[in-house]
Each structure stands twice: as C-alpha cells, then as structure tokens.
Symmetry: C2
Subunit: 366 residues, 2 copies
C-alpha cells in the first residue's frame, strides 16, 4: 500500500527536521519497507504570513484527507504581536480539535548512550521508559467561556474553563489501560481531586473503567503536584501515566527533560478508530520550534524521525518497519553520531542533514 502523508513543517527548526524526515522517507521507499505519497503545506507562523491565519481551511481539509500528518513545530517571537485568535499555536490546536485527536502519546525514554546528559543522577534515569497518555481535546484548552472582559472600574477579568465529561475521560482511560496491557501492566492516573471537580470526576471514571474492564492492570491514583515531585524523585516508578490536557502538558515536559534528550522524543496524537478501522493521527516532536537555532543545520532530527516510527506503528500497523527505523536511530547513536544538543563535552557534533543521512544509511544497512 502507498500511504498519503501530509507534511506540515511549520516554523523555526520545523522545516529543517522535516527535511531530515524526507531523507528517511526516501530510504524507507528504497528499502521497500514502506511507500508514501507526501504533500506539504503550511501551519503556524508561516501560514499566518501566507494566508493571515495559522491554519487555512484548505489545509485542514488536506489533513482530513491524509492517512497521517507529520508536523514539525509552530511559533516564534516573530508572531508575538499576532492576536490570540490567530496566533501560531491556534493552528496546531485547531488541528487537534477538529480532527478529534484526543489521545496524545508521549514516550519518555532515556537512551543509554545519553543517560549522562540528564540533569538527574544516572542511576535514576538509566533505562527509564514512561508512556505519558495526555488527553488532548478537552479541559482548559477548549472549555468555554474563555475570555477577557472589562469591569466597570476599568480593570479586567479573565476566565478559562476546564470541562470534562464522562465520555471524554472514558475514552482516554481505555487508551491508557490498553497500552499498559502491552507494557508493564501499570497505570498511574494524575489529577487534583482534592481541589478540582474535574479531578473528582476524572478519578471516579478512571476507577470505574479500570474495575469494569482491566482487572489485570494495576491502577494507582496520584495528585498532580505530587506526581511532578515523584517524576523528579524516582521516575522509574511510573510506566503508563494518564492525565488531563493541562497537567499532561506540564508533566510530559518534565518527563521529557528527565531523559536528557528532549531533541529525541516523538509524540503521537490519535483520534478514535472509525467504522472502517481507520483513525486520524498527527505525529510531532515533543520539542518546540527553537527559533534561536533555526536555519543553522544544528537541530536534532531524531524526534521528527522517531515520530515517523510511531506513525508506521500506530497508523499503518507496520511494526517491523517501525522497529527497523527505531533500530536505525539506535545504530546511528551507537556509531557515535551526535547533533549539538546531545554531544557531550569534547565530542564533535554533526548537523541536521548529516544525522538524518546517517540514520537513513543505518536503515539501509539493516
């Protein structure tokens, strides 16, 4: 089969890491592991520059028609003055919401070769392998009212609304428990039920889904503030960690940073499986657009390439091709290839392109 990919490189280092991705897509074709048709379009700041909006309707339609979307990164200081409604991030949020990509999977893996790069002591992170399952289309990101109003005395009042329904929590809980079944069989669920009503409902629904369907999985509830602490103190206690949109945003960034390899972490944002057995999906690096190093061939393309590996696995069921690609990344690292962000002191670094080529060659050599 030939899959239809929509490539949305975006802003900052986005186009560079997407360039690295293209090298690997070509290598996948050459080796016969998988074959793609790719289209490229604009999202974020570059879309604002071209169309005045961070996601054009035509782009959204292309995203709906694609088998999977690969996105680089959005945003940058250039668009700091743009209105809230039209800021670069709104393009990404619209994609998530309109494609109903409710399940955000963020693996935090500590590569042995890079354990030293972590701020944490080696023994605390070596072998770390956490899967954060973040709810991505609900919560405070999308609840209404969300507005700033003027008060009679001339001051202002800002409101955001965190909303969760039973159904929204059920479906993300299923994703987490299903994943745990294929891993160590442990799920931790993080919320603030001691302060938030959404936390109360979250805990209640996760508990019920667990007891009704997943007797073989171990479930633990943890307060989000304590969870942040525990991630720093003893991260390996976690396997699958399920949480809401806002806590997921913060906790997954902590977990990513622990690994010492932020430039290497991929993510998947998945929709529900439809009648035809298909699901919409978007794959993107966890890192941002890093405008400070954009255009210098310095960015690490591994998070972007790893996102493609997740795409092969989750969208197309190509487990073997995904394993081969993940293996090629490991081979490249084992061979000593390092971009600047992961080059230890005294080690020399290669550029974005060279890293992508090294991985492509490792793939062909497998």
């Amino acid at each position: 089969a030939t899959y239809k990919l929509l490539l949305l490189p975006g802003d900052g280092i986005g186009p560079e890491v997407a360039g690295g991705l293209q090298v690997v897509l070509d290598a996948l074709k050459d080796t016969g592991l998988a074959s793609f048709e790719t289209e490229t379009d604009l999202v974020g700041g570059c879309a604002i520059d071209a169309h005045g909006v961070p996601l054009a309707d035509a782009t959204l339609q292309r995203a709906k028609d694609a088998d999977a979307i690969l996105l680089g990164a959005v945003g940058g200081p250039k668009w700091a003055g743009v209105s809230y409604e039209n800021r670069p991030e709104a393009g990404l949020l619209r994609l998530r919401k309109d494609l109903d990509l409710f399940a955000n999977l963020r693996p935090a893996i500590c590569y042995p070769a890079l354990a030293e790069a972590s701020a944490l002591k080696r023994e605390l992170v070596e072998g770390l392998d956490i899967m954060i399952v973040r709810e991505l289309t609900g919560g405070v990101y999308f609840g209404e009212p969300k507005e700033i109003t003027n008060l009679p005395d001339g001051s202002k009042r800002a409101v955001d609304t965190q909303v969760y329904t039973t159904g929204e929590i059920e479906r993300i809980a299923h994703v987490a428990f299903d994943l745990a079944g294929k891993r160590s069989g442990r799920v931790a669920s993080a919320e603030k039920h001691n302060v938030m009503k959404t936390g109360v409902l979250w805990k209640e629904v996760v508990t019920r889904v667990h007891s009704e369907h997943y007797a073989n999985i171990e479930l633990e509830h943890v307060l989000a503030d304590n969870c942040a602490m525990q991630l720093v103190r003893r991260p390996k206690q976690f396997d699958v960690l399920v949480t809401d949109n806002l806590f997921g945003d913060v906790l997954s960034d902590i977990a990513a940073m622990l690994t010492g390899s932020l430039g290497m972490l991929p993510s998947a944002s998945l929709g529900a499986v439809d009648e035809k057995g298909l699901r919409r999906a978007l794959y993107e690096p966890v890192h941002g657009s890093a405008p400070d190093i954009a255009g210098q061939d310095r960015a690490n393309p591994i998070a972007m390439i790893g996102s493609l590996a997740m795409c092969l696995r989750y969208s197309f069921g190509l487990g073997e091709a995904a394993d081969a690609l993940d293996g090629a990344i490991t081979d490249a690292l084992a061979g000593g290839a390092r971009t600047a962000d992961i080059a230890g002191e005294g080690t020399s670094a290669i550029g974005t392109k060279a890293m992508a080529e090294t991985i492509a060659n490792a793939l062909k050599a497998r």
Copy 2:
C-alpha cells in the same frame, strides 16, 4: 511585645512537628528573643472527627484574632470517603480564602549538607535558592462554576473555572518584585498565555506593573510547561518565580523536590497590609501530613521550625530572632543531626523530638 499565635497541628505528622515547634517556642522565650501566647485548635481531618467540618467557625474566628497562624498539615486516607465540601483540605482552603492570604512564599533552598540527597546532580543544585511566589486565593481553586452536573444521557459533566482579575494579578506581582529587590533583582513570571486567557491577562498585568514601578528589576516571561522543564534542567537560572495558584502548586513542589530536603522547606501565606500596618499570615511546612510515618517520632520538624522563622521575619519584623533560628537549624545540621528523611546511607537518624531539642539547644548556645 507578646505575640498571639494560633497553632493548628492538623493531621498525620502535623501534631508531632507542632510538638517540635513548641520546644523551640519555649527556647525563644528562655533566650528573650521573642515571647508568645499560644492557643491550639483543630483543622482538617481531626476537626471533621470532632465537629463534622474541617474548619469550625469558632476556629476561623480565632485565626482572625491571632497575630499569626502556624499550621502543621491536613488530610489522610482516613477521610477519603468524606464529601468534597467537607474534606480535610477544605479547612485549609477556607483559611486561605477567608483570611485573604493571597501571597504564598515558598523558598526552595538546597542546604549544602544535603545537596547529595537531591535527585539532581550536585553541581546543578548546590547553592540553589529560589523564592516561589504563588498566588493563593484565586485561579481554578476558587472560581465558579465549580460543579459536577448530570447530563440527559446519564453521564456527567464536571467544570472548574479559572478566574483572574487585574487587581489580583497586580498585588501578587508587587509582592514578587518587592522580594526580588531584596534578593538578586530577577523575576520570572510563568503562565500559559499561548493557551489561556488568564495567562494573557497575567502576562499583560505583570509587564505593566514591572514597567511602571520596577525599572531596576529584571523580568522574564516563561511558559509554565517550559518553566517546569527549566526547573529540572538548570534550576539556578531562577531567583524569584511568580505564578498562579495551580501552576504554583505544581512548580513549587518540583522546586521543593529538587533541593532534596522536602522535610525542611517552610512557607508563608500572607494577606495585605491593613490600615494599622498589620497583615494576616499563616505559616506551614511545604510537606504534607505523611500518614505513613505518623505517630512514629520519625518526621522532620525543620520545615515547621523554619516556618516559625519566616513568621518572626514577615509577621513581627524580628529579623534578628529569625536569623538566630535559621542559624540554629544550620548549626544542628552542621553538628550532624539528621532525621530519617535526610540521613544518608550509613548515618544514624534521630527522632522528631530529639531534632527539635538539638535546634533549641543550638539556639540557646548562640
């Protein structure tokens, strides 16, 4: 002057660390450094057991009449079945809200003697001294609506509301900038203006307060998710960190954990200064009620005793007595005194009482 203190030991290890506090209060009297009248009352689970509510009206009145409040900790599994409205935490939240204690000061200090206890590499945390300024009476903790409703299809919908007004942000910004003026002169302000309208207003107001009143202070804006990352990656880049109630809850717990000495970190929750120059204030350890070790004389009383030092400084202007008490804590540690939580491998630990007595003796010996 004789100050009126209200002691609210609370639950779990609360009564033990409050017992340690009493030893130090006596020593302060003996040395003539400061003199107190203390009353003791109930809050949290123990108040539920006694009165059916986590904070009786009479206790609230006593809190209003006191010059300062010292609180141990609230909560525990014993009250897991209590209704949301009457859970132990509601007692603490009512104190914060009804006394208008909007400014929560949480210093995260890495004691040199304990740098090794941090999960982070020594060089990243040695000398760490961050002051987190958390807004404590607004945001998602208190905004309305906050409810769970039944939907027609039998499922539920939960809502929490994050609200901030210009005035609420202004007053906490002033606290942060004033503190920074007495420290390194740097403030970082954390929010999610890329997703939340309260974040947009937060950033706008902090920026204005800064440019109108604090030209000599350096201000940096940081997204809350990135802030969590940066705290792990390079914590010493921060001095004063100001943020909202919910982000403050999570970020201050991360900062506390970094120091490797959670059992040692105090906090102050301050109200506005009134016409008579007085301000309401509550002081409490950052750590929780730790029910797993309650009643075993194992808890570390230093966070509670350090909270008294903050009380001397912020409520009574007794800088010298506060310095003496902080010095006594340092002396006790330098002399090798360790409770179980901070005793390194192969070091023997002393109990709560013995630690408090060691500090009291160190105070008298100064």
